[in-house]
Amino acid sequence: MANQNENLDVSAKSVEEAIEIGLAELGLTRDEVDIQILNEGKRGLFGIGSEEATVRLSVRSQGQPPAPPPEPSTEEPAETAPTASIPETEPAATGTESNGDDAVSLAKKHLENVLQLMGVEATVEVRTAADLVEQDEEPPAVLDITGNDLGILIGRRSETLQALQYMIRLMVSKDTGRWERVVVDVESYRSRRRESLQKMAHRMAERAVANQERVVLESMTPYERRIIHIALRDNPNVYTKSIGRDSNRKVTIIPK
């Protein structure tokens, strides 16, 4: 049940970018929210005198739960927002993306080659990850890397895993001509991380309510923040919003 009190304030370089980030975090499409522009922002010259644009997204209250987002995995909404002038490497997401069999087998081939060149001994298994998305979302194909001592492939704050997934997506997208959202995982790290984030979200929400104090979580990737927002979407006692910029964005849990 969409909660009427669910507001999300997002700041970014442009209004458009702020909206995209916000929608990605909420896991909603544009017609499921009301968008209020709080600050249009200013471009500035070379960033001097520029001001961030801020928008407020409020979930429309409907008699039904919000429809699932059309794109199940929203890993890089902030980073792929088409704003910069450097030529874009990835074809724009058109909504026709799929994890077709060729995309998956191409991804597997690239991943195996990259791992081998990195000197990592591991095997790649393909599975469908129903445990990585909400019940009403289409599960993406996951390339799960298994082997011994693979912590090195996850890295601090899963930086290495993100880099690996990003490069594989770029390579496959180059081959197929459209943006492919295959998921790269290591020893099911993402499922375990998702579960622990959900548990933490509920625990921190309880703390926020008990202390009547906002709780600021550690900085996370857009995908991880989305997990938190969704986990607390139906909690009547708190609302969530993200603060900070880029890699420093943190979910804040605020008691109502």
Binding site: T80, V114, E159, A163, K174
Partner: protein, 78 residues
């Protein structure tokens, strides 16, 4: 030829429009190995990415390979 050089070549060739123009030079320094990647001017954006995202992803993966070999590396796009 180390596999680190091949790794850089593989990743770069897979994301550019003109793979034949991808050249990687391996320069052995006293404290670190430098990899110099050059691509066709048109392809520069593809190996750098917005805010250096592609270059940084390649650096991150190259670093894993380097740790495995007990080396220090840098990747420069020239």
């Amino acid at each position: 030829m180390s596999s680190m050089k091949e790794l850089v070549e593989y990743m770069a060739k897979a994301v550019v429009n003109d793979p034949d123009s991808v050249i990687v030079r391996e320069i052995e320094g006293s404290s670190a190995t430098i990899f110099e990647l050059s691509v066709k001017p048109d392809d520069m954006g593809r190996v750098i990415g917005k805010q250096g995202r592609v270059a940084n992803a390649m650096r991150t993966l190259l670093r894993v390979a380097a740790v495995k070999e007990g080396k220090r590396v840098t990747l420069e796009i020239v």
